[in-house]
Amino acid sequence: MSSQPNYFIECRNLHYQVDDRAIFSDLNLKIEVGSITAILGPSGTGKTTLLKLLCGQLKPTTGAVIVDGCDLADLSRKELLYLRKRLSLLFQSGALFTDLTVFENVAFPLREHTKLPEHMIRDLVLLRLESVGLRDTANLMPAALSGGMARRVALARSLALDPEFIMYDEPFTGQDPISMNVLLKLIAQTHENLALTSVLVSHDVKEALSIADTVLVLNHGKVQARGSPEQMQAHTDPFIQQFLFGKGVEGEPFDCAIESLREQVLHE
Amino acid sequence: MQSKSIEMAVGLFVVAAMFGLLVLALNVSGLRIQGDDDVYYLYARFENSSGLSERAKVSLSGVVVGRVVDIRLDTQSYVSVVKMAIEKGVPLSMDTSASILTSGLLGEKYIGLSIGADEEYLLSGDVIEDTQSAIVLEELIGQFIFSKTSESP
């Protein structure tokens, strides 16, 4: 069903609005099959919202999200659920089911979508947990895990069904350097071993750039720049240089309509 | 496994509630499992059956032998026709009388049967003619006042 076999996900003229604020206006982006794409941008530009739009959880106000040739808006609820078996999204907090054990959490997608016998499910779950280095936590409840460990278990769960496409929502936020390295290696290895298409959303620039092969920089609801990490290095846009590499001084205000600090303090 | 004990607890809960319902049915509401085969129907005509309601009891010598199932107005003779379901094991003579009595001082109305000496028995669908209507309090007071005033010279 792929009309454009090179692009796994596309956004065309995407416009998304919440109340009166336009979060994305006329957004166009393409994610190539087999790439690791890092979507970077300042906090608050709506990166998580973008992920939710890409997997169909949110509907765009206007414009289209095309996944593997299918426009998400055309799919029925059932077809959408079916498509989602090939996608996976790793949430910032892991989003493990708190009433199930670690083992049950990872087994969940297998139990739901396959009719595999119990002993096969057991083997698969243990293999997945081993690949994220947490096989010994199988019988613990999610509440007993640290944040980093929960995230790794969630990664095991996301990979349980061998998806084609995986999205990571702020995977590096709040991690200590060791867990950070473990995660980076995991993401890179998984990407290669399973021939996935990966999308990372983050504001941890250095880490994201170290494993990505394509970089998209979002700002003010639009794609500010697109290219490989090397191309980003050489980019001339001052915002890119400042955001990615820390060059420059002035911070961007959140809401451009606010008066300058001087006016607010002296004249109010 | 934890789910086994949960299932057992739920099972106990449901059984307890069902049992509770049974107790409510039998002990509290006095529901008696009575089929239609066990009763035969008799009619009684009363001048005034005020206060008598459907499901009121019908008793003979103080023992409940049946229930009132229907109360209608006979539009031709303007009397109240009461249909009663009597247990089959209770034969009533042809000259049985039926009165509407009050249980207690301000209690509910019920039908009291008084058996006669006739050798023939009432069959299903027969009508009891010898009846005593309900005592209406206002009429009683009216009678009392009337008799009192007619006494004094």
């Binding site: 989602r84 949430f91 089911f97 969940f108 | 607890a9 739920v10 449901v14 319902l21 509290v28 509401s29």
Partner: protein, 260 residues
């Protein structure tokens, strides 16, 4: 001035939108999915959480309510010399009104708020989103078993509440007030009708169960994913659920007694 009217109008429009949304929500959660084994075991687990865990409060409350009814009823009835009717009074009040209504109010407070908090928390920690993205319908897996568990549990709890109330009342009447045990029960048996009193009470229980559980689930689903949002949702469940029970009770009683 026109601003005020516009604001008022907007508020009412929002109320209707809310009702509409909750109606659509209800329709989505009625279906508990295909197959029998999986959905049934989920149902059983929820009946445990909603029904069995509510037993302590229901049983204790039922006993005390019955005992108080007997006490109060005795003193009122003795003014008319009809103390013997206390059994009838306790039984009818419980079966027709106190049983269904008080059980429902306690249910809303205990089980309803727990439901809303649980679902609100699942929403906050993105468990619902995660489930959706994994291709599992959270309406079928999470919401539907809870709805049907509520519909099953509350009528059962109501029966137990009324039962304990009647026996509690018996205890007080016979042991404390000196009513002859035989007359407590026989008076009751003569005036309580199974189809009219017991079953109608259970029917009320079913209606309350449906509405209360629906409200609890809806507010959990709608909660803003912050701690303040969840607490607001829980409060809304208890307040709206309680008011709904009382309002419905009036309507149901009017229909059952007067045949409107």
């Amino acid at each position: 001035m026109s601003n005020y009217v516009a604001a008022l109008g907007a508020k009412y429009i929002r109320v209707f939108q809310l009702i509409g949304r909750s109606g659509l929500f209800l329709i989505s959660i009625l279906n508990w999915g295909s197959g029998f084994k999986g959905p049934f075991s989920r149902l059983v687990k929820q009946v445990y959480h909603l029904g069995v865990l509510s037993l302590p409060i229901i049983l204790v409350a039922g006993t005390f309510v019955g005992m108080v009814l007997a006490l109060q009823g005795y003193y009122i009835l003795s003014n008319y010399g009809s103390q013997e009717a206390v059994g009838q009074m306790v039984a009818l009040s419980l079966l027709r009104e106190f049983g269904p209504v008080v059980s429902a109010l306690l249910f809303v407070g205990r089980a309803g708020s727990a439901l809303t908090a649980e679902i609100g928390l699942m929403k906050t920690t993105e468990q619902l989103s995660a489930m959706e993205i994994m291709g599992v319908d959270p309406f079928q897996r999470i919401f539907s078993p809870r709805l049907w568990a509520g519909v099953v549990s509350l009528p059962l709890l109501t029966v137990l509440f009324s039962l304990l109330g009647i026996y509690g009342g018996a205890f007080v009447a016979v042991n404390m007030l000196g009513i002859y045990e035989g007359s407590y029960w026989s008076n009751m048996q003569q005036s309580v009708l199974f189809y009219d009193d017991v079953l109608k009470g259970v029917i009320k229980g079913v209606v309350f169960a449906f509405v209360c559980t629906w409200i609890a689930l809806f507010h959990g689903w709608q909660a803003k994913p912050t701690s303040e949002g969840v607490s607001r949702a829980t409060t809304a469940t208890v307040v709206q659920g309680s008011l709904a029970v009382l309002g419905l009770d009036f309507i149901l009683t009017a229909v059952m007694l007067g045949g409107f």
